[in-house]
């Protein structure tokens, strides 16, 4: 179905590690790659090693002083008071570890390598499950993210003349990417996330719509806590196809954080594998419809790494390959991890329909989400080139 898609991986990516107590555990990657291998989904011609990003790549989006601070802290493996104060390095969210700079460069390099593969025409779809660090800001670490691989890759694509549609389904607002392209009409950012009323980072209201040239090119769909599959899929369908049709992107860059799953310990959305499978399928279709197949996908959040992350990202890779997966989690994978997992592992790739009881306020939550999506769409005529905007400007 697809021309030689690439999966970015190297065991060196596991070096990006904040320590055993931290939720952003490299096991997220290890468990995923093992499941993919156990499904025999990774032929040698599909595997691509990440090329570490150069400092000049990082400096496309990050402040030089911040990069110096990351390097310094990574040499000693400890942060100074200033690092904590100014750069939010060495906090509980973003602990410092030895060789942090190099580890983060490799991770950014993974996504950038993917972007370059697509630009060169060697591949149409690329997946970097280690990428998706959407919170990192110009001069600040944030929410487990040191460098913003997405923003570096998008900037590179942009410099090559690509119109980029960025779509983020992580439970947390894709704030880092949004702010870095807030003024830019060549980069459309769309983020679906749990409302920031209580959840980190707090931004991502429908009123954040871009500024200056970029006005109309930031789209936010904040969802109610306990949003379930049907409602998520409904608002996704309300927003994404129509906005992409207006924007006419050259490439889709997507962030597939799966921390909106019912099981996830950090966020409070209640979707299941059904939502993630659906979104992957739709983005795949849309990449062919608008972008001749150009589609760069990354991982993201996801902190139930035993029960959720490996299944969701394995299914994503299968979708990219155009392969239908058997319904069972591979026996070899279960045999390897059943004993060490702290929780009982699901044996089916897809969650059952009765994974949990319907949420008490389901009707109300769906209604609220529907209204949010409608409001967002009422404004979409402000995107440039739309006839309604042209008439408004007169």
């Amino acid at each position: 179905m697809s021309d030689n898609p690439k999966f970015i991986y190297s065991p060196d990516l596991l070096i990006y590690n904040f320590g055993p107590q931290h939720p952003f555990n490299p096991l997220r990657l290890k468990l995923t790659i093992d499941m993919i291998n156990d499904f025999k989904l990774l032929a040698p011609e599909n595997l691509l090693e990440p090329q570490a990003a150069g400092e000049q790549d990082i400096l496309l989006v990050h402040d030089r002083h911040y990069v110096e601070a990351v390097k310094r802290a990574g040499e000693k493996g400890e942060a100074s008071e200033e690092d904590v104060q100014y750069y939010e390095l060495g906090t509980e969210d973003n602990p410092v570890f030895v060789n942090m700079h190099a580890a983060a460069l490799l991770l950014v390099g993974g996504t950038l390598t993917g972007a370059k593969q697509i630009l060169s025409g060697k591949a149409d779809h690329v997946l970097n499950v280690a990428g998706g660090l959407h919170h990192a800001q110009r001069a600040k670490a944030s929410g487990f993210c040191i460098y913003n691989d997405l923003a570096v890759a998008i900037t590179h694509l942009r410099h090559q003349g690509m119109r980029v549609a960025y779509i983020d389904i992580d439970a947390h607002h894709g704030d880092g990417v949004q702010w870095l392209f807030y003024d830019d009409s060549e980069v459309l950012t769309i983020s679906f996330h749990e409302t920031g009323k209580f959840l980190f980072p707090g931004t991502g209201t429908i009123y954040e719509r871009g500024s200056r040239n970029g006005f109309g090119y930031s789209v936010n769909v904040p969802l109610e806590p306990f949003t379930e599959d049907d409602s998520f899929i409904e608002v996704f369908e309300t927003v994404v196809p129509e906005v992409l049709a207006k924007f006419q992107p050259d490439i889709i860059v997507s962030q597939h954080g799966c921390d909106g799953h019912e099981y996830d310990p950090l966020a409070h959305l209640s979707v299941t594998t059904r939502t993630y499978g659906y979104v992957a399928k739709r983005l795949h279709d849309l990449s062919h419809k608008y972008c001749s197949g150009r589609w760069l996908a990354t991982g993201g959040g996801g902190y139930d790494f035993w029960r959720v992350v490996p299944r969701v990202w394995t299914a994503l890779w299968a979708e990219i390959l155009g392969r239908k997966l058997a319904g069972d989690v591979p026996g070899s994978w279960l045999a390897r991890y059943r004993e060490v997992a702290p929780k009982s592992l699901p044996e089916q790739m897809e969650d059952p329909e009765d994974l949990f009881l319907p949420k008490p306020r389901r009707v109300e939550i769906s209604e609220k989400n529907r209204l949010t999506a409608e409001k967002v769409m009422n404004w979409q005529f402000l995107m440039k080139g739309d006839p309604q905007q042209a008439s408004l400007a007169k």
Binding site: D93, G143, F198, E262
Partner: protein, 218 residues
């Protein structure tokens, strides 16, 4: 918080001898609803006109004539309110808010030593409310119900301090039950789960972000 911290210093005013038409146009162009009336030479406040006062003396829009002569012949001083409720820059903001609430008015001229030095409107109060409770610093927000006794806030902040996490904003508000208070705080972290667990262990109720909707399946 003092009135002078919130008030606007640039005030659009009219003179008593200006016409109602001029006042109407001033309000329209500047998109404001209140015009303090001052004398040119000393900025002394002598009255106030609101958009409602101006409209009361305007002819109906259903009538055909555009600028009726009456708007040009009537002076501001003929229609302005002379008894003006004012505040001082060093009044407390909550007292100013109470005044506006009690008298159902939308603005208070700020007067010091008989001179108009600023204005504070309901819009300014709303802006202040947004700044107070709508912190935009990145972080996670908690709502904690605590009994009305000493030490609760200290105990909670001690837990947060041990995690070396900064508090971006914090306010305490009344609860429905008079024996309790609600502490609302924004913590600069993506992962407040351990802190929430410890606060609960210390005997406090964390209402949000869970609100007891249901239990996660384990």
């Amino acid at each position: 918080m003092f009135v002078e911290e919130v008030m606007r210093r640039k005030v659009i005013t009219v003179r008593p001898d200006q016409t109602v038409l001029e006042a109407l146009q001033l309000a329209k162009v500047n998109r404001i609803r209140h015009l303090p009336v001052t004398r040119d030479n000393n900025n002394k406040l002598v009255g106030i006109v609101s958009d409602r006062d101006l409209r009361d003396v305007s002819p109906s829009v259903l009538l055909e004539q555009q600028h009726s002569a009456v708007l040009q012949s009537t002076k501001v001083e003929e229609i302005m309110k002379r008894e003006v409720i004012t505040v001082h820059p060093l009044d407390y903001l909550d007292d100013a808010a109470r005044l506006m609430y009690k008298h159902r008015i939308g603005c208070l001229p700020v007067v010091r030593r008989d001179r108009l030095v600023g204005i504070i409107t309901d819009t300014d109060l709303l802006r202040t409310l947004i700044e107070l409770i709508g912190s935009t610093d990145t972080g996670s927000t908690l709502e904690i119900k605590v009994p009305e006794r000493y030490g609760s806030l200290a105990e909670i902040t001690e837990i947060i301090k041990k995690h070396k996490i900064s508090i971006a904003s914090c306010f305490i508000r009344p609860d429905k039950s008079p024996q309790h208070r609600l502490i609302v705080m924004r913590l600069k972290t993506i992962d407040p789960t351990q802190i929430i667990a410890k606060i609960q262990k210390a005997g406090y109720q964390v209402l949000r972000p869970f609100a007891g909707e249901d239990e996660h399946h384990e």
